[in-house]
Amino acid sequence: MKNETLYQYILCIADNSLILGQRLGELCGHGPSLETDIAITNIALDLIGQTRSYYQYAARLIDEEKTEDDIAFLRLEREYKNVLLVEQPNTHFGYVMARQFLFDVYHLMFLEKLQYSKDDQLVAVAKKGIKEVSYHKRFSSDWVKRLGDGTEESRQKMQEAVDDLWRFTNELFLMTDAEKTMAANGIGVDIAQLKEEYYKEVSDVLKEATLTVPENTYFTKGGKEGIHTEHMGYILSELQYMQRTYPNMTW
């Protein structure tokens, strides 16, 4: 391994996109309308595309034999470093949009900082990603507002979704050792610094959506250290099925 810390850092970023992309991919053909269905799969495609760029880079850091597919399909659950937020299930459309919104606000803020990294490859992926994630955030914010400030039922469902997902938001700003090291040497982003701005921006949208900003201070964590919720195993069993059942199969 040429640079273990950088490799771990890339996983911290890319696994979020992979797992959220996989979650959204599950909805292909199940969106509430044709337009939203297409929008959700478009977002999934962007996220998986970004993941590929990160993993291709990460694979070069391990050894010449490894590819992006090894990283995506052949790791164990504990080796995935995504935050718990992105692995939460698709219960209903409002919930999916709330999850997306809470991640998109963070994601765009993060990429806007990553574009000033000292690592050229990360800069390239970030600059490309900013253009795409701006659209994601616009889409999810619009739906949070539309459903929050919608009918009695849509408002209640959106409020419950935000209340339920709120406990996963703090983890976005917890830094692993790899993240601290990379931030210190100018390659990574000091994400702890983004927290205040994040909650301000999220709260502004929730208020516009006539929703109540949750006040609970109980937060959960673990994903970034590889300790996931029970949902993760189900995601991986579907994601990895083909490669586990037919090792080295190709399309």
Partner: protein, 167 residues
Amino acid sequence: MTLVAQTNIEDHLRPILDKVSDPEIPVLTVLDLGVIREAIEKKGTVYIKLTPTYSGCPAMDVIGDDLKAAFAEAGMNAKVELVLAPAWTTDWISEQGKRKMEAYGIAAPLEETADKEALLGDAKVVKCTNCGSTNTHLVSQFGSTACKALFKCDECLEPFDYFKCLK
């Protein structure tokens, strides 16, 4: 247009590159689209630098294979490398490409301000590719592919795609 200045494509390779088109928008060649950033020949091998329109664009793998096939037919070996920086922008679509796109039924990207007004506000600035009216409205910011938004014309009632401005 700064298209020519930003790319390094050897002239004798252009006719071959011009045979390769976007599988999603077959009227556009890879040169029209501006995704070829470099094409140089060294001792019978052509080295191509290709940039994706969107990160997850599934057309990129197909375009890479099509490029290799087109050069193989011309008796040359092609090596395709995917480059991410500088990030592709719709400014790199050639004027000819924009005309072909319109004729094909996809409204070409507007400049940035008008694009924002069309996608974020209610500005009626996107022209229907069927009847030419600007009395159109946005149906979805995401269309049939990552690079397009879905519009509907309120004059002739036809739905159509709009190629989103990407800067």
